[in-house]
Amino acid sequence: MPYLPHSPDDVRRALETIGVDSIDALFDELPASLRNPDIELPPAMDETALMAHLRALAASDVTGGPTFLGGGMRRHFIPAVTPHLALQSEFVTAYTPYQPEVAQGVLQATFEFQTMMAELTGLDVANASMYDGATAVAEAALLAVRHTRRDAVLVSRGVHPETRAVLATYLRAQGIAIQTVDLQDGRTPVPAGPDGAACVIAQQPNHLGSLEDMATLGEAAHEGGGLLVAVVDPLSLAVLKPPGAYGADVAVGDGQTLGNPTFFGGPSFGFMVVRQELLRQLPGRLVGQTADVEGRRAYVLTLQAREQHIRRGKAKSNICSNHQLTALMATVNMAALGPQGLREMAAGSVRQAHRLADRLRAEGARLALDAPFFNEFTLSTRQPGSVVRSALAARGVHAGVPVGSEYGLGHAVLLAATELVTERDMDALLGALRAGGELEAAEVRHG
């Protein structure tokens, strides 16, 4: 049997040592009537058959080709060196570093991750990562609730709809009210009367791609006695003002764009970075620097008394695992690219997105919004977004995340561009849109 080392002799020897007759005898305390039920599972496969089966499944997926998909995850450049280093088997098959003497690899890499995230966001303390961006936002809202002892939060409709859905699930259980602030012309207006709100949550760039005036939102939040929670794409921070510079108290987001493949939505990782004053409210694992008995610098999980395995019912969160390995991918990737490489990726994305928007406009297409955007924008379409997306897919182009009706923009899709998008990719997208009647229709409308 694969992965099981025991020969029949080994089994006999082990049973003798234990003093029982059979393996089944070890399970005597299981309710007899329920033992060894008939379970319908497909038959076992050997390695060759397994891989053939999986390759056949993967072949029913369509990947590769021009892609302009965004909406929370994007395909970015990942140098070959990143997965080769991050996915070394010592990192892949280690447990949580509870024995620091033999876990300096994971611990130091995490400490370096925390440093890089603090640098990108301009805030003081990053945790060791969380499940994903959406759950990190929900945890940030709970942090603000604990800190301010208030029981309501304000969230901009510009925050990703799935993130807001997760926020609703988490907060409902604790009786915390959520007020959603509608966008005006694709951006979050200064909310009327944030008094009483534990925080204002806004996303930069927002779900429709627009750049928000985060500093003004922060002032409004602070005047009302609450916190500003900035939901950010970490890669954009190679170019954009860091949350710490516009007064954010907490920066959260999803780290996929820093060096993880999209993997049909996961695993990526969430991150959370806070001002020093909020350290004690921060959920999740933290690595700190200290020294060993010989004075050598060393790293260790610290401030663990905040966590569930010690505080149990009184912990700041029930979160136990982080997303260590995907965060390590980001750590290696940031170190591989450095500030210059990361900036080139962010700026290249901006350049290609604006180039795409120009070419679309030149062909008569209409952007749904006039607000400045980063590397993603909203295109008005003639047909419903999901129809447009399928039509493009049929022509070999992955593009067109449908924009929900909650935004009141009519039929529209998100288009994202990254540094990996080429001029030829844009040709393909324009060709496919034209063939689908989208550009022609726009011309008629404008003509």
């Binding site: 599972l41 140098p79 049909f264 695993p267 505080r311 912990a315």
Partner: protein, 487 residues
Amino acid sequence: MAEPRRGSFPSIYERSRPGRRAARPPRHDEPDLAALLGEDQLRDDAPRLPEVSELDLVRHFTQLAHRQFSIDGNVYPLGSCTMKYNPKVHEDAARLFQDLHPYQAPETAQGTLQLLFELQRDLGALTGMDAVSLQPAAGAHGELTGILMIRAYHEARGEGEQRKVVIVPDGAHGTNPATASMAGYSVVEVESDARGEVDLEAFRRALGPEVAAVMLTNPNTVGVFESRILEIAGLAHEAGAQLYYDGANLNAIVGRVRPGDMGFDVVHLNLHKTFTTPHGGGGPGTGPIGVKAHLADFLPVPLVVRQDGGYGLSEDLPHSIGRMRSFYGNVGNLVRAYAYIRTLGLEGLRRVSGHAVLNANYLRVKMQRAGFRIPYQRLNMHEFVAQPPEGVHTLDVAKALLDYGMHPMTVYFPLTVKEAMMVEPTETESLETLDAYAEALGEVLERAAAEPGFLAGAPYDTPVRRLDEVRAARQPVLRFPFADEAG
């Protein structure tokens, strides 16, 4: 940059020199960012990220990997963690699916959706549950999902106000009470009896019309099967409570008895334990949940469904608790778990639990012969609790083991046993490895007796020795101290 102290391993920041880099993204003309985005949107200074050559980068992370224990390098019998071998073929399998985007048109993701649909079906069959969601990102996340569903169920029946309490055994994993609190419940702990099982009388007393759920791990956290589980389930249901199965210890019984058949209403699985997706140094895990039919309406959205002759994602579940995360789940890990189930089949999975329990009992006998105390004198399941002899501290034994290149067991858990050592060898370790482990433990005890003080100094041969954890917590240094911030 500050130079590292003698003997200290360098930080990536200490290897950094301005102008170096390892990787170059595709080149584009430099855009006029101020014109496109607005001057006030741009950052003033570049973030301080490392600047290193590719070879220096490779050396740094390769040497860090060498400063790390792992299953691939070391026996790692952490109780409650199921540190079994992570098959290499799973890594190849997962990569086949890594380029899919979550928002690509569903008709272009049929292979992945089919895989996810079949995994929902197979996990349901293995646990005896009627419906499965693959969404939760970890065990604790699965717990929260399940408890929120139980809450929604009671609310739908008009008992939401009445049921405010979750019962957990005193030996429960810390996530259980933390999850209950996070879901807005208060927690009542019930004691265990002398055999390590839930004390039925105490349990009976704790039950009442205010109880929403009972969370159990079975086998429980001392490695003992709750032999009166059917009675427990009956009592819980009579009181109107839902029974929650913490799947952390499923490896002991997979294929042999199903939580659904034992009377559990909800189960979460730790795919990173029983179904051997790698732990990754602390995650990503994956914690799918399964439920009985009466709870299926409350599952989180979206679900993978059969649709129009193919597969799709459905948000159409009016009583759903909502979303628990973005997108659909940790798909990379779901592929690995799928590959594992398809490789072993039912017969193989039954053998997994059989050999896991065999190995744990074998090592228990060996450790007892080596001088360790076994507080629960009975056959155990996939893990067992031991204690060092009087006068020897568990922590010292654990640290001494590190010098043998062996990872210690889980220490000081469960909290209900003094100086607890929780040992779970898993089915993938050979008898020779277990013999060597017990032998090393025996030597440690001999050394402790012969040379008082030796253990307190251990480990001696690890990359670093015991750390000053008090300093780390009193004056937290949580990011690299750049030279201009020193002091």
